[in-house]
């Protein structure tokens, strides 16, 4: 563990696919198997379990919390549930019928907290909002031209443009304009398009590999996305794309903007990675929470003998078995970083103004970690 780690909570013995903090950071919600667990944060202590939301009957894939503290979960059982916090600390569930025939994969509240979007494997994004007259959450579909599973969603701060990325290799921006809820003033001077009818495709960018996460930088009118090929890209309204590759090469699953010129990504390498925008565009800048003694960056050891380099690459499993054979036990490998398995999701934790100073992460190892950037 390095000094960039502020807190490290081992909350489960199973993967945490998604996590979310409330606005004041006093409540933490995580997904675990078919449940969503709600924790109360204790200063300098382990989070305290306060509620277990267990109405789903298949794996819960994502959780998000609105500005009002409402929790929304979506699951492979093809439904979403909105959980209204009650004064006695319990949550009142409301089922939202998404009308999809495959798993729901991701969910995001719009900044206003009055509607949310759910991505699914049915090549559909469902935009859901509450209808007073019927006392019912309505779901409207965006279908075309999505060709495959939607992996990730991000709302622009204006609450209308919705970016998504998926396994068809496209990043797309749609309009999620809901009549009666949104007004045209919200997008009056948007550089992305002139008209925003519901479901309209505003832009699309082809990358080719699976898109694992998209994130708006609304103040700059830019969109960042990360892919399974370990690349980080940023696009702007003129369709210019800046791309940077992560030198270690492992897939990136999540991205968070730190400020206008820096973004943190996380993925299969188990520790966050910082990308920075300089004079020559975006570039890999540094690893966060990775001990220096661990595997050397590949490019740094160019001059060494080939065999030396080979020793650090791909041999660890072989070495493990050799040790087991010769010594009868596995030599304890130095733990390189706090997460012991892939990072699934990053989120801003705290910051001042436009600058994020702390980020939170959850991973397949059942941990939630808070990093200093």
């Amino acid at each position: 563990m390095s000094d960039s780690v502020i807190a490290n909570y081992k909350l489960a013995k199973a993967p945490i696919y998604s996590h979310c903090f409330s606005q004041d950071r006093s409540v933490l919600a995580i997904t675990l198997h078919t449940d969503c667990l709600v924790f109360k944060m204790v200063p300098n202590g382990k989070p305290q379990l306060v509620a277990s939301l267990s109405d789903h009957d298949k794996t819960v894939t994502a959780v998000d919390m609105s500005v009002h503290g409402r929790i929304v979960t979506c699951s492979q059982d093809r439904n979403a549930i909105v959980w209204e916090p009650l004064s006695d600390g319990t949550y009142k569930p409301t089922l939202v019928l998404l009308r999809i025939n495959r798993a729901a994969t991701c969910v995001k509240w719009a900044p206003s907290g009055y509607k949310f979007a759910v991505g699914s494997s049915a090549r559909i994004i469902a935009i859901c909002y509450y209808e007073q007259e019927n006392d019912w959450w309505v779901s409207k579909h965006i279908k075309k031209p999505i060709k495959s599973t939607v992996n990730c969603l991000s709302w622009h701060d204006n609450g209308i443009i919705l970016a998504c990325g998926g396994t068809d290799g496209y990043v797309r921006a749609f309009s999620g304009f809901v009549k009666g809820l949104d007004s045209k003033e919200q997008v009056s001077s948007s550089p992305w398009a002139d008209k925003f009818p519901f479901g309209a495709l505003i832009r699309e960018w082809y990358n080719g590999s699976w898109i694992h996460d998209v994130q708006w930088r609304s103040s700059q009118e830019k969109l960042a996305f990360v892919t399974h090929s370990g690349s980080f890209s940023v696009v702007d309204p003129s369709d210019q794309i800046w791309a940077a590759d992560y030198p270690e090469g492992l897939p990136l699953t999540s991205v968070v903007w730190v400020n206008d010129h820096e973004a943190v990504c996380g993925g299969y390498s188990c520790h966050p990675v910082l990308f920075t925008e300089g004079a020559n565009g975006w570039q890999f800048s540094k690893n966060i929470d990775k001990s220096v003694a661990a595997r050397t960056p590949v490019a740094a050891s160019l001059d060494e003998e080939d065999q030396d380099e080979g020793a650090s690459f791909g041999i660890s499993a072989l070495k493990k078995f050799k040790d087991l054979d010769l010594k009868g036990k596995v030599s304890t490998r130095v733990q390189e970083c706090t997460h012991e398995n892939a990072i699934e999701e990053l989120a801003p934790y705290s910051g001042t103004g436009d600058q994020v100073t702390e980020i939170s992460s959850c991973g397949l190892d059942g941990k939630v970690v808070i990093y200093r950037v």
């Binding site: 080719g208 090469g249 492992l250 690459f313």
Partner: protein
Amino acid sequence: MEDWRRIDIDAFDPDSGRLTKEDLKPPYPVAVGQAEIDSKISQLRSAATSGDFSTALTLVTSDPPYSADQAIKERYFAAVLSVLTQVRQAEISTLVKQLSSSQTDVLIKYLYKGMSCPEGQKQGGTLLSWFEKVTQHLGVAPVVRYLSDRNTV
């Protein structure tokens, strides 16, 4: 319902549309034609005969015929394979280190393609030593990019 994951749900909803191979093909502006490839192949051959493998490898790894049809790709690949197998073992490492990251990505595609077809498998040892040098130089990054790239050679 134990095996619910195996239910063909598309059969219940014909309108939902299945994902086809065409759907996932990258959008190419123009297709590479026969004549273009023939000239590339002759360039490759002449570079290889004169022993200038550095030039040959640069040719191979820049601007591969992603948009060409399968027959043209096969013809081109045969030429590429002959270049790769003519290089002496000792030179491979030096040549690999001269390549840029995007060129290495293309090289890896040809290596995998070689290992997947009978002509290449006859030269398996050579291809594996190329592969070894690439991964020693750049780690797993080119392999991960190969796995997630839909442009095929």
